[in-house]
Amino acid sequence: MSMDEKDTRPSPEEPMPPSAESPEPQESPDEAPPRPKRPIERFYDKFEGVPLKALDIFIGILIAAFIILVVLGYLKGHEII
């Protein structure tokens, strides 16, 4: 019978991520707490809910915007428009 450890932190361990090197073997911690989120961890974490695809689309839009800006700026700079 095992005694139970403090219930201050929840348990998680990363699910097996497909990765190029040998994947993190699945740990099932007996009562291991998850890494508590550090307040310093940049505001990147606020975006955790955002699906990668949405981010990709966002980046794509930005790049398109960049190209448009350069073209427009070129035209403006050469007084074409």
């Binding site: 990363e14 991520p17 550090r38 310093i40 961890e41 940049r42 990147y44 975006f47 955790e48 955002v50 990668l52 981010l55 990709d56 966002f58 980046i59 930005l62 790049i63 915007a65 960049f66 800006l69 350069v70 427009l72 700026g73 070129y74 403006k76 700079g77 050469h78």
Partner: protein, 329 residues
């Protein structure tokens, strides 16, 4: 076959901005005159050098999951201080009329020490008082700007001694500006610091996991203070060089430089999420940004649009870094 496809996708997403700017450079190079010229290359090196030095300073802050929004204004203050101490003795608008002629290396040293102290204050506020770096350096940014205004009385500074001007304009072998020599020395120093000293290891450790670093016995407070102090000194040198390169300095000098520096670092692989970053990356990041600027200039793009386009690149750089971080989770 599938593996190769994933590789290309990963490569592109990791280096998107570099690829984008490279394409832009090719377009510019082949559609304008004199782009691929020695003169332009010299300009590129001259522009890059103070920016690189500034970025090296900021990199330590970024690697330890902090930031330094006061970098630009510190450089500006440094430029103004250097200017005030290096004006021609017979210049009509000389500010420090009682000051004798001081050799520029001495001025450089003085300025670096002063900015180092400012950096150390940043470090103390962040490490001891545990104020988030964003807020601490934002506050310092305004303080430094205010100080600069007071000290210069809002008058632009000019009329530099020739010995000072030479630093900013001189060239060896007709293609390498003296400014680049400063950059090379700083680059080598930072490479050494980050890779071959304990301070470097402690810095990466703090960035990787501050709590674990603490448990492992790293003196987090001392390391952070050193990082911000060193950063201050770098802003000092950068400001000194910017002043001579421009031949003048004012309260406007350095405005916004930190944003570009942070973007350059991010492009170069210094993740805002801490613990990683190489000097070579910083160099590449700064290079990419300067090439971008030169291309847009050569293409004759309207300056307002250039400004916005640069801003977009900064956002893309951060978004890509965010993506890398989220993808890992």
């Amino acid at each position: 076959m599938k593996a190769k496809k994933i590789d290309i996708k990963k490569f592109v997403s990791n280096n998107a901005i570099i690829i984008l700017v490279f394409i832009l450079m090719m377009i510019t190079g082949f559609s304008t005159k004199n782009f691929f010229s020695a003169d332009n290359f010299k300009n590129l090196l001259a522009n890059m050098s103070p920016r690189f030095i500034l970025a090296c300073g900021v990199s330590g802050c970024l690697i330890t999951k902090g930031t330094d929004l006061s970098a630009g204004r510190q450089a500006g203050l440094a430029a103004c201080l250097s200017a005030m101490m290096l004006q021609k003795l017979d210049y009509s608008a000389r500010v420090l009329t009682w000051l004798p002629s001081i050799p520029w290396p001495v001025v450089l040293l003085i300025v670096m020490v002063i900015m180092g102290c400012i950096g150390a204050i940043n470090g103390c506020v962040i490490a001891f008082l545990k104020v988030p770096p964003f807020i601490a350096t934002l506050g310092m940014q305004t303080i430094v700007y205010g100080a600069c205004q007071i000290i210069t009385n809002n008058q632009p500074l000019g009329g530099f001694e020739d010995s000072y001007l030479v630093v900013g304009r001189g060239v060896i072998l007709s293609i390498i500006p003296y400014l680049a020599i400063f950059a090379v020395i700083i680059g080598l120093y930072f490479w050494f610091l980050y890779n071959k000293t304990r301070h470097g290891k402690y810095m990466y450790a703090i960035g990787g996991n501050e709590n674990a670093a603490q448990v492992a016995g790293v003196n987090v407070v001392a390391t952070l203070i050193r990082i911000y102090l060193l950063a201050g000194m770098m802003y000092g040198m950068a400001g000194f060089l910017i002043g001579t390169k421009a031949g003048g300095a004012s309260t406007a000098t350095g405005f916004g430089y930190e944003l570009e520096a942070i973007a350059a670092c991010t492009i170069g692989g210094v993740s805002a999420n801490g613990g990683v970053g190489k000097v070579s990356g910083i160099l590449i990041g700064v290079l990419v940004f300067e090439v971008l600027k030169i291309c847009l200039q050569f293409l004759g793009v309207d300056p307002a649009y250039t400004f916005i386009a640069q801003g977009v690149v900064i956002i893309v750089a951060v978004a890509l870094d965010l993506r890398k971080y989220l993808a890992k989770k």
